[in-house]
């Protein structure tokens, strides 16, 4: 039992699950996508990215890359949300909600790849 691996795996899977949770629902209905969940997704993705620092293998490099992609999309979604709600516009219209959710969808795909790589690594290195 490697505690480091437990924590690593935990956060990566948590990032994916939260992201999926946020994404699911009508793409243009703001009631289906709670902002706190977006907040949680951003935080957990950041933690997962930081945990991936410093791994110099090929696998580690690709994992870091996927995390960075996810962070990029999530930050874009957060900025959109902030501008919509606080930018003096119409609030969360269906259009804006659709944009936010589709960006998080992109991050979701990146997280899926991340988890798939984690599984591959685990299967290949099973002891």
């Amino acid at each position: 039992m490697n505690p480091e691996k437990v924590v690593f795996g935990f956060f990566i899977v948590l990032a994916l699950t939260l992201n999926f949770g946020f994404f699911v629902g009508d793409i243009d209905n703001p009631d289906h996508h709670h902002v706190y969940e977006l907040f949680a997704v951003v935080v957990v993705n950041l933690i997962a990215t930081v945990l991936k620092f410093g791994d110099r293998s090929q696998m580690g490099a690709v994992l870091l890359a996927t995390s960075l992609v996810a962070i990029l999309q999530l930050l874009a979604a957060s900025i959109l949300w902030a501008m919509a709600v606080h930018g003096g516009g119409d609030g969360l219209t269906p259009t804006v909600t659709a944009s936010i959710v589709s960006l998080s969808g992109g991050a979701l795909l990146a997280n899926v790849i991340s988890v798939v790589l984690l599984i591959i690594e685990t299967v290949m290195l099973r002891r």
């Binding site: 706190y36 935080v43 930081v50 620092f53 410093g54 110099r56 949300w81 709600v85 606080h86």
Partner: protein
């Protein structure tokens, strides 16, 4: 570069995680705790505003409570997250600072930037391993001549010394162990512009390793190595080191030359000396009688061997025969700085004294004591440290042996004017009167300073006019080229020492010798002479002037005009003739 980035990211994990968690908890708390506006309505902070607030709170900027004054519950929460947030930021910044100041990190950065700078070099450079006395003298000599150098030394203090010195050129320096091939590769060993490797560290094994590495990684490169003993010399020669310089052997060779052919010795010292130093006076070491040698280290052994070979009687004074080995019979135990030891060795009867210990103070003391006892004795002093130049000069020894200077001079000649090496070799086969004549010719050229020596190549780039003249069928003689382009009746104060034509060498060519394209000339002259010599070689009209004395017209227009005006002039003279 990847090394450094990964190191950085790895070290930043802890601080970043701390920061993220503190921010998260603080933001969450702020959004959940209800606030009250002045009218009494409840309001909740949004995540965005909470993020904004926590940011300026944690970085101790503190704009104020937005958008309304906080309730007590909110303030309590802010207090807690304030302490956590500020500490988290300081932790993160502190880690960044300590990482940047980390010696390993800095060294990794320095190595990386050094290697990159070397890979961008386009002009030929020499790699000097070892920046002690010899290395410093050599680098200064090379940069003064406009050649480029790269330095590698294991001692950090020495490499950082370069930044303080006033060198003419920028010399990249790396503080690393030169025995590791990786560092030599970083310093540019495999680089095509690397013209030579000079191994002048204090340690023979290191020099050996550097020579081997160079010959293996870059076989065509010129490798010059310092050696202190015969075995190391043989070892170095066995795998093809181009030049091996042993200062003690070299000096004993100088002494041998000085015994038999003092003019030749003087010639070699004058030509091999550093520019702008005073010319040495001739020395006449006595070649019959008793010599006292103080110190039986490497230098003492080499001197004793040479003196015995010349048929002289030698008495050695050595304080530590267990370390140096037993001197030949009749030796005296002691340092030589006291008068009794010198008297016991027979200084009152001696004709020569060698102060050859490895301590400058001892050597000076020996020399001064000896002068008191026997003022007419011929004194040879060994100088170990160039910082003591002033006092060594003051003691006015007849000959001074400075190992670093000897090595640096020889290597400088090898790297700068390799033809001089060949010239010295050829000159050794001539007799002393030839050398004396040349010495007097050279002393007529310059006032009191060492003359400048240059190698000139006769090719299209460096001597275009000569090549042009040869193509058009004219003959160019050496004597013509040595005339002053300002007034052809004057000769330039320069002497052509050697002409290399393919494999042939012409020593002290006559004035009638012809110049051909592809020749290499070794010329010695006063400092300002080379620019005028270059005029003769490069500039067509200047060459024509010194050859024929006529000033050739330089432009096409003028030459046309000149032709038409001579045609106009002709009828005039005809008439004049008619009248006559």
């Amino acid at each position: 570069m990847d090394n450094i980035v990964f190191l950085f990211l790895r070290r930043m994990r802890q601080p970043l995680l701390t920061l993220i968690s503190v921010y998260t908890v603080a933001i969450l708390g702020l959004t959940l705790i209800p606030g009250e506006d002045p009218q009494g309505n409840t309001w909740y902070m949004s995540i965005f505003h909470a993020f904004y607030f926590v940011s300026f709170m944690s970085t101790t900027i503190g704009f104020g409570e937005i958008p309304y004054a906080f309730t007590d519950a909110q303030r309590l929460w802010v207090t807690l997250s304030l302490y956590a947030g500020v500490v988290a930021w300081i932790y993160a910044l502190g880690t960044i600072l300590s990482l940047v100041q980390d010696k390993t990190f800095q060294r990794a950065l320095a190595e990386r930037s050094f290697a990159r700078r070397i890979s961008h070099m386009r002009e030929p450079f020499y790699l000097i391993c070892g920046y002690g006395e010899t290395g410093q003298t050599l680098v200064r000599a090379l940069t003064d001549r406009g050649q480029h150098a790269v330095v590698i030394d294991s001692n950090e203090q020495r490499t950082s010394l370069i930044q303080l010195q006033n060198l003419r050129d920028y010399v990249p320096a790396l503080s690393a162990d030169a025995r590791k091939p990786l560092h030599l590769q970083e310093a540019g060993l495999p680089h095509p512009a690397c013209a030579g490797v000079v191994a002048v560290t204090d340690d023979n094994e290191t020099n050996l390793k550097i020579a081997i590495t160079s010959k293996l990684l870059h076989p065509e490169i010129k490798v010059i190595c310092r050696a202190d003993s015969r075995d190391i010399e043989a070892n170095l020669a066995s795998f093809g080191t181009d030049h091996i310089v042993d200062p003690f052997d070299t000096f004993s060779m100088y002494l041998g030359t000085a015994f038999h052919t003092p003019c030749l010795y003087l010639l070699q010292r004058w030509l091999g000396g550093e520019q702008n130093t005073r010319l040495e006076e001739p020395v006449y070491p006595p070649d019959e009688g008793l010599w006292v040698v103080c110190g039986y280290g490497r230098f003492g052994k080499a001197m004793t061997a040479r003196l015995v070979k010349e048929g002289l009687q030698v008495v050695v004074i050595e304080a530590r025969p267990d370390v140096t080995g037993a001197p030949p019979e009749g030796w005296v135990h002691g340092v030589g700085t006291e008068a009794d030891t010198l008297m016991e060795a027979g200084l009152d009867r001696a004709v020569g004294l060698v102060a050859g210990t490895d301590d400058d103070t001892d050597n000076l003391s020996i020399a001064m004591t000896a002068r008191d006892i026997a003022p007419q004795v011929f004194v040879v002093v060994r100088q170990n440290n160039s910082e003591n130049q002033a006092i060594i000069d003051a003691v006015q020894a007849d000959m001074v042996m400075h190992p670093s200077a000897i090595i640096a001079d020889r290597i400088r000649v090898l790297l700068g004017t390799p033809m001089l090496h060949q010239f010295s070799f050829l000159a050794m086969h001539q007799d002393d009167s030839w050398a004396c004549e040349l010495v007097s010719r050279i002393s007529a050229l310059v006032n009191n300073n060492v003359p400048a020596i240059e190698e000139l190549l006769i090719d299209k780039e460096a001597a275009g006019a000569v090549c042009q003249a040869e193509v058009s069928g004219q003959e160019v003689k050496i004597g013509e080229v040595l005339r002053d382009p300002w007034l052809r009746d004057r000769t330039l104060p320069a002497i052509v020492l050697l002409v290399q034509r393919g494999e042939e060498y012409l020593l002290l060519p006559e004035e009638e010798t012809l110049l051909h394209t592809g020749d290499r000339l070794l010329v010695v002259g006063a400092k300002g002479v080379f620019s005028r010599l270059q005029w003769n070689l490069c500039h067509g009209p200047a060459l024509q002037y010194v050859k024929t004395g006529k000033v050739q017209s330089q432009g096409w227009m003028w030459s046309k005009l000149a032709k038409t005006s001579t045609r106009e002039n002709e009828p005039e003279t005809f008439l004049v003739d008619d009248k006559e």
